[in-house]
Subunit: 194 residues, 2 copies
């Protein structure tokens, strides 16, 4: 199983305009990252999950999780994914802390913090994508691996310490600063080739 | 210089609805491919050009070319790129065969065939991304290289013969069938690492 956690610090947690994603907490970046995690040509990566941890206004924190094995009725374009995130935010509006709601199309929305999610995954191999990590081509991967990605703002120091405490290993993909959506393609490619 | 040629067989060559890209000859795929060719986190790849060869209705063929070195006023989201393609199609509406118009923001639109474009590039190293090619990690690249990508429909047999005639070398990126937008990320990553 391949699992991705994207920390999207400014991503909206209340309904947003799907026709103006860049102005809505850079939801365009979020949507492209989800698209690249799950979709390949004519298929869905059934072995992949992506959790988007959203901490922007108005109802943070929210996690929208996409499960490849159950995904249906969603297309790889930014707007289709944005519409589905909006649906999830609407359904999850009144959730209490650590409660979740299943939308039955492969999407689950929960009111949960990044820290809590990482804690739940701490028995897995956790890889934190970071410029100063070991080259991904040299890392030994287990069957189940969780990749943690920051968004365009970067990861807060406190969050980095948390990841370290949970044993996350840093890995580097490129000499160039890439978008999270790009990083996911490179990770998939490396795992596909093994 | 890194140059990409995307053959987008169904891509609209007349104005289209930027809020419904999947229904407009899969312009969402085209836009994501352009985005991944040119944008990185907080920067533009100034050493990169992408030509989108569009052969869908109503005024084919059209080539919209994005020059990283001159690019301005464009964002990496699908809609921003779509709006700029629309502008280019509008400006290029009355072009005669092999004429072009420069939009002065890094975009040039021309009425030109795929064959003619490839012919103009035939003194360069041409790499055709294809499942049955040599592993990209083993290919020796020159400083200037042109990558040719098909879209979700695949490349017509006649076009493949043309590429062969111009000495294009086939290269494979992945055991999985990827979108053109994904292929570009992997190509950039391989070149970035060299």
């Amino acid at each position: 199983m391949r699992e991705f956690i994207l920390l999207a610090l400014k991503a909206k947690t209340s309904l947003f305009n799907v026709n103006n994603l860049p102005e809505e907490g850079r939801m365009d970046l979020v949507c492209r990252t989800v698209s690249n995690a799950l979709f390949i040509s004519n298929d869905v990566r059934r072995d992949t999950i992506i959790h988007v941890v959203m901490t922007g206004p108005k109802y943070p924190p929210k996690i929208v999780s996409f499960y490849g094995k159950d995904l249906k009725g969603i297309n790889p374009d930014e707007k289709s994914i944005a519409e589905n995130i909006n649906l999830a935010l609407e359904k999850g509006k009144n959730l209490k802390l650590n409660e979740e709601t299943n939308l039955k199309n492969g999407i689950v929305v929960s009111k949960k913090s990044f820290e809590q999610l990482v804690r739940e995954k701490s028995n897995n191999q956790i890889v934190y994508l970071h410029k100063k990590g070991e080259d991904i081509r040299k890392i030994k991967f287990k069957d189940d691996v969780v990749f943690v990605l920051g968004d365009y703002i970067g990861m807060p120091k406190k969050t980095e310490s948390l990841l370290e405490r949970f044993g996350a290993k840093k890995s580097n993909l490129s000499p160039v600063m890439l978008f999270a959506s790009h990083c996911i393609i490179i990770v998939h490619n490396e795992l596909d080739r093994r």
